[in-house]
Amino acid sequence: MMKKIAFTLSLIVIFTFLFSVISSDIFASWKNKDVARYYLENGLKKTGSPNIVSSVVWDFRAFDTLGEETVLFTAAVGIFTLMIFGPKKKKKA
């Protein structure tokens, strides 16, 4: 019990330290982010919607949203299949 708590706490501390070290340089500058700057500056002009998240999800990257809808459809069909072919009944010998 004590071993589990010590192990998880040490994992949390190590990963927070690593994340704070990495994110201090990459997430703060506009050096390598040409695509994000293009989406922010030309989003309103090309699609006509002030919500840039919607324009990225449905206009610039519509294929990824189609893939997510496929995942939802597969989940619903998968549960339906599991309910039809239920658990096997035990044979009474």
Binding site: K4, I5, T8, I12, V53
Partner: protein
């Protein structure tokens, strides 16, 4: 910034409590509280779309499906 560090402590605390409890219904409630704290952290980081999606999907529908699943099997682990 201060509010973000204050509201990120319950995330770790409730997730730890959910993983270490033997009563499965109590673990599901702890997961719901942790999801609401994550949604609040998303709001403090200026992302309202993801906060709305996380709050409505993970704190409302996932908890419902987990409660139905726990009700059909055992409630106490081991």
């Amino acid at each position: 910034m201060i509010l973000l560090t204050i509201f990120s402590i319950p995330i770790i605390l409730f997730s730890l409590l959910a993983a270490l409890s033997k009563d499965l219904l109590r673990a599901v409630v702890f997961l719901a509280v942790s999801s609401m704290c994550i949604a609040l952290a998303f709001l403090l980081l200026k992302a309202p779309d993801i906060a709305m999606t996380e709050a409505s999907v993970n704190a409302c529908l996932t908890t419902l499906i987990y409660v139905i699943a726990v009700r059909k099997t055992r409630r106490y682990e081991e």
